[in-house]
């Protein structure tokens, strides 16, 4: 999963993201969060990609080849949704090749400052935190097996 995030940022944005295994979950500022769910007979869950709003704007500008000032909220939402989709596509491929067939949803976007995503019971939560040009990229994965 971490390799796939690095690949998405490198290929689509020419941005170098580095996993920081020692980082703790940062306090959440105003952010744009992409969410894609996956579901199958043996496994289900969701992938969340959290980006601070100023960094989400930079990412959208880089991906679309536009200036930050030319972007609206809709464009930024679409870019974050697509990045989350690519990230989850990589996870889905790995799960399917491992025998855990599943389908993925289309992306959803959450914007805000103080929201927290609480996993439902029996769901395991994993965090991956990356540094990218002194910005934080936070990937939150919820998985329920069985």
């Amino acid at each position: 999963m971490s390799r796939h995030l690095v690949d998405v940022f490198d290929t689509m944005l020419t941005m170098k993201a580095v996993l920081d295994p020692r980082a703790s979950v940062p306090p959440f500022e105003e952010r744009v969060t992409g969410c894609v769910a996956f579901a199958g007979d043996h496994i289900n869950g969701a992938v969340y990609l959290h980006l601070g709003t100023p960094f989400a704007n930079q990412v959208a500008a880089a991906m679309l080849g536009l200036g930050v000032e030319d972007l609206g909220e809709a464009e930024v939402n679409d870019v974050v949704g697509e990045a989350t989709n690519m990230l989850t596509g990589g996870l889905k491929s790995w799960l399917c090749d491992s025998g855990a067939e599943c389908a993925v949803s289309t992306p959803a976007i959450i914007r805000g400052t103080s929201f927290v995503i609480e996993p439902v019971p029996e769901v395991e939560r994993e965090w991956l935190i990356f540094d990218c040009n002194q910005n934080r990229i936070v990937v939150e994965i919820h998985v329920k097996v069985g």
Binding site: T11, L64, D78, T106
Partner: protein, 131 residues
């Protein structure tokens, strides 16, 4: 005359990236946000190439491609599938559908141009020179 390329993707981001990739070439880019719209645009415009996403609301890429192949007027249009999933089964399923090629997201614009160039002749736009 510019060739026509139809980009069918629910993500405006991907349609913009596809448009950006073909900007240096003599290409008229047509867009649709799902398979249903894609079929309507394909029937009306008869594009030279279709760049088709797999997972979309309303009508997905697999259904659109199946309908395209059933239509004698459209079945000869080459299709490049775009997918976020590189798993073996997914790739095999796409291959069975009779697509010309496929591209896994994330992708570089150069890769798209290279694959499109195998299906249609891409000619560079003349570079504008200052008067």
């Amino acid at each position: 005359m510019a060739i026509k390329i139809l980009s069918v993707d629910d993500s405006r981001t991907i349609r913009l990236i596809v448009g950006k990739a073909f900007r240096p070439y003599e290409v008229t880019l047509l867009e649709a946000a799902n398979g249903e719209e894609g079929l309507a645009v394909a029937a009306r415009e008869k594009p030279d190439l279709i760049i088709l996403d797999v997972t979309m609301p309303v009508m997905d890429g697999v259904t659109m491609l199946t309908k395209l192949k059933e239509d004698p007027a459209l079945k000869g249009i080459p299709v490049i599938m775009l997918t976020a999933e590189s798993g073996r089964e997914n790739v095999l399923q796409i291959a069975r559908l009779g697509v010309r090629d496929y591209l896994v997201k994330p992708f570089k614009e150069d890769q798209l141009i290279e694959k499109a160039g195998r299906c249609v002749t891409l000619e560079k736009r003349p570079v504008a020179t200052p008067a």
